[in-house]
Amino acid sequence: MPSRDRLRFRLNGQPVDVFCPDPRILLDLLREDLRLTGTKRGCDLGTCGCCTVLLDGRPALSCLTLARLVESREVTTIEGVTPPQGLSPVQRAFVEHGATQCGFCTPGFVVTATALLRANPHPSREEIERAIAGNLCRCTGYTKIIEAIAAVGGR
């Protein structure tokens, strides 16, 4: 393939080398081309946070990210924060605290919370609220999501 249509980056810890002509959006690349459907499409406009992935460890909206921009960078999706067996501490807390209802926003929240807790292992309630302010949830009123994240942070 022509090199300008080639995209090389690290995805969930593995190198990938894919055909990706411009203007491909990262969310489309992940969901449609690479069939990683854990990342959800809620609005395509950066307003809901359902498509959140980690870009070099920091939350990013994959629906607003040109795939080209992840060249040589590290992308981590919900599949990448999930251990091969069982659940991560954040995921376990979300289940136990009832922080997931319909579940559609949940991968985005889990990814965001994972990044938060890596950067700040014991966030305060205000820090949690600020971190998740870009993720919409219409089911839970955020109450149990905040409880779950706080529980992982030991607060």
Partner: protein
């Protein structure tokens, strides 16, 4: 915040506790499969051409160029499948694609199936529509008299009135004549929408065996199944409806929607699987949210504060279609009839078609706007009479086992317990009218149906819910039902009820995906019916299996069956001597005669209500009750305010899964706060100006108050294990609690929702200009 721990009196092993969702691990890992996650070989992209006109006659649609575009497999217009449909059998006024006229901006006027999205979009751009603009009807008030170009031929006598309801019980005028206190509230309510996170999505595939399979994000797979059959002219048994995980519904996915039929039609036309996935703007235009409404409530009470009468009018902006509108029109009146005794009641409600996106059912459908006006009126009566708002409501509370004047049968009610619990927890008696200016506390109450007694598609004598169980030698219990888990936790409750009855661990029970080929009919997730109806059906099915297993266990234990009890993963006898046999051993003995064990349980409501026109509207096998207190603080310089805390007293009978019940209450409060504080479908004329989640703002985490939940219900006699609904009733009381708290804070009545900071500021300024002091300010 968590509610009190499970009381020690709980006689159940699982039920009554905190049961994490059975599908939780799939959802937190992104492995739960939603419709858009499904891939089919050769999948085509379906796209819809939507009307740019509020109202137009479609003279001709030229699709030749679109059809000729390489990569286009089919182009459909309304003439191909013109059979009208609608969620209510009595108001079929929608078509899959507009046939003669387009009735709102966003109405579907053609559909394309193509190899990919760019091709589909290019094809849409090639469609030429010759349309003649018709009169726009944006204001429902204008639609109540004769209009030019009525939206539907079916409107009442040349008007745009879709439904008119007039009811009168007792003698309202006489009651007002002898009243000591009266209050009148005129409420205005902007439309609000569900704003679930998963956009609508449907995949359809017609196969050479003559069958059609439809995967869709729907709350009511059964109504979709019926509607597909009616419009496409295919018998139901040749259609298979599958409900994958659904990313929220709140009523917005309960109508059979036109795109679902279009998707199936495109699949039939092309012989290929087709997917239609909405973008967020399409979700907003499809709407079916809570109706923009104006109501006027007059309340009469005697000198002691006994309620004498309600006199209610409602004008409801329906948008382009009927949807659930006939029910909405009744509900806006009759859902005023609890939680208080009201001996005289008059209601005139009208729902008017407008050239806007259709409104429909949204969480606490029909009960929310009227409740706000009623509860504000009661707050005024309390103030005028000097009776504390709690005392006023206590005095008028419907008693258990009573009947309302419009023939609602109230069986269990712990409304008084809701009141006393939140009064105490909120420290009401030391706060009401005693907090400093700018801070306030308010009470709002409510009730809601726990399932509709008469389902929408009522096939006489057929159950409203059926649950099938199958257990084979592996000891896993497969549960089939068409109940639709949309996030409320019904799969978990279904599994827990079966596990509870049979004494087994939850992991043995596998709730199967809804699939009309194998799932017996349950009417789906609307009207807060699932826990009550599916729960009773599941219990019945599990009890049958238990009976067979006990017979087998009795044989193994050498005791009479009546001495065998269900243990944990075993069956036991007290003896003497006490003995037990493991579940699997008993199961295998029971299977010797017939192989895998199966059972079918069902639930049907008993007839209720009067015989007058509309008597069934609002009848339910049980009702939930709520009393909420909200505390607010207002920045009197800017009009901004925050709700600091909500005390939620709720009667859902026995809460069967506290984790889920709390989640429903917290989520309901969030949604109720959205409507009272800021959410609004902003129309200029018929044009929606905020069709995105950026401009239609739901409350942020920072706006969510502390919530203290007080579950005070007692066992309902008919609910499964004593349970009633907790999915919709918890929303209603939120709004008036906030409205009444704002009054306590700043001395201004707000009756125009949403109550945005600019309205608060204007209210404060007006009060100051009129020199009406409030709490020293």
């Amino acid at each position: 915040m968590a509610s009190a721990p499970t009381p020690p009196t709980n006689p159940y092993r699982l039920l009554g506790g905190r049961i994490p969702y059975v599908e939780g691990p799939l959802k937190v890992t992104g492995r739960a499969e939603y419709t858009d996650d499904i891939q089919r070989p050769g999948l085509l992209v379906g796209r819809l051409l939507r009307s740019p006109w509020p109202h137009a006659r479609l003279r001709s649609i030229d699709v030749a160029a679109a059809r000729a575009l390489p990569g286009v497999y089919a182009v459909l217009t309304g003439d191909r499948y013109p059979i009208p449909f609608g969620v209510l059998p009595i108001t079929h006024d929608e078509t899959a694609i507009a046939v003669d006229a387009s009735r709102y901006i966003g109405d579907i006027i053609a559909a394309v199936a193509a190899r990919d999205e760019p091709t589909a979009e290019a094809a849409l751009a090639l469609i030429r529509v010759d349309a003649e603009p018709l009169a726009e009807h944006a204001d429902p008030r204008m639609g109540t008299s004769k209009v030019t170009d009525p939206i539907h031929a079916k409107g009442l006598a040349g008007t745009n009135i879709q439904k008119e309801v007039v009811q009168h019980f007792g003698d309202v005028d006489a009651a007002f004549a002898r009243a000591r206190f009266t209050a009148r509230v005129r409420g205005t309510f902007a439309g609000v929408t569900h704003a679930f996170t998963e956009p609508m999505a449907t995949i359809a595939e017609a196969t050479p065996d003559g069958r059609l399979t439809v995967w869709s994000a729907t709350q009511v797979p059964h109504y979709l199944h019926r509607t597909l059959s009616e419009v496409l002219g295919i018998p139901m048994h040749r259609i298979r409806v599958i409900k994958p995980e659904v990313g929220g519904g709140f009523g917005g996915k309960s109508d059979p929607l036109p795109h679902e039929i279009v998707c199936a039609a495109l699949a039939i036309e092309t012989g290929r699987p087709v997917k239609i996935l909405f973008d967020r703007e399409e979700v907003f235009y499809t709407n079916h949210g809570r109706h923009p409404t104006q109501n006027e409530v007059r309340v009469a009470a005697d000198a002691e504060g006994n309620l004498l009468a309600y006199d209610i009018e409602a004008l409801i902006d329906g948008g382009a279609w009927s949807s659930f509108g006939t029910v909405t029109t009744y509900y806006n009146g009759v859902l005023a009839m609890g939680p208080y005794r009201v001996p005289n009641f008059r209601y005139k409600g009208r729902r008017v078609y407008t050239t806007k996106p259709p409104s429909g059912a949204m969480r606490a459908h029909g009960g929310t706007n009227i409740r706000y006006s009623i509860e504000v009126a009661l707050d005024r009566i309390a103030e005028e009479s000097g009776i504390d708002p709690f005392d006023l409501r206590e005095r008028n509370a419907l008693a258990p086992n009573s009947t309302t004047v419009n023939r609602f049968e109230i069986t269990s009610t712990s409304f008084l317990e809701c009141l006393s619990a939140v009064r105490k927890a909120s420290d009401w008696d030391r706060k009401f009218r005693q907090l400093p200016y700018g801070r306030g506390i308010g009470l709002g109450c409510g009730f809601y149906i726990s399932g509709s007694n008469s389902p929408i598609h009522f096939t006489p004598k057929m159950p409203q819910s059926t649950v099938h169980l199958k257990v084979d030698m592996d000891g896993g219990i497969a549960v089939h039902s068409m109940q639709a888990d949309i996030g409320q936790g019904s799969n978990t409750l279904l599994a827990a009820i079966v596990a509870e009855v049979l004494g087994v661990d939850l992991e043995r029970v596998h709730v199967q995906r809804v699939d009309s080929d194998v799932s017996p009919v349950d009417l789906g997730s609307y009207s807060s019916r699932v826990t009550f109806m599916m729960g009773n059906a599941a219990r019945s099915a599990a009890e049958q299996l238990k009976g067979e297993l006990i017979t087998a266990a009795a044989g193994l234990l050498g005791t009479p069956p009546e001495e065998v009890m269900v243990g944990h993963e075993c069956f036991e006898t007290r003896g003497p001597p006490p003995a037990s046999v493991p579940f699997l051993e008993v199961l295998h003995r029971a299977m010797e005669a017939k192989g895998a064990l199966t059972a079918s349980g069902s639930y049907q409501t008993r007839p209720k209500g009067g015989t007058f026109k509309g008597a069934k509207a609002g009848t339910a096998p049980a009702y939930s009750f709520a009393a909420y207190v909200a505390e607010v603080s207002v920045d009197v310089e800017t009009g901004e305010y925050r709700v600091r805390k909500v005390w939620a007293g709720f009667d859902c009978g026995r809460p069967l899964n506290r984790l889920a019940v709390e989640g429903q209450i917290e989520g309901s409060i969030h949604m109720g706060l959205g409507q009272v504080m800021g959410e609004s479908m902003n129309y200029r004329g018929s044009r929606l100006f905020n069709p995105s989640l950026l401009e239609y703002k739901i409350p942020m985490p920072q706006q969510m108050p502390e919530v203290e939940i007080l579950l005070v219900g007692k066992d309902d006699p008919e609910g499964p294990f004593g349970a009633k609904e907790a999915g919709e009733g918890p929303l209603i009381a939120t709004l008036p609690a906030v409205g009444n708290a704002l009054y306590d804070a700043v001395g201004v009545r707000f009756t125009d929702l949403p109550i945005t900071p600019d309205k608060v500021l204007r209210g404060i300024d007006r009060r100051v200009a009129e020199r009406r002091a409030w709490k020293g300010a």
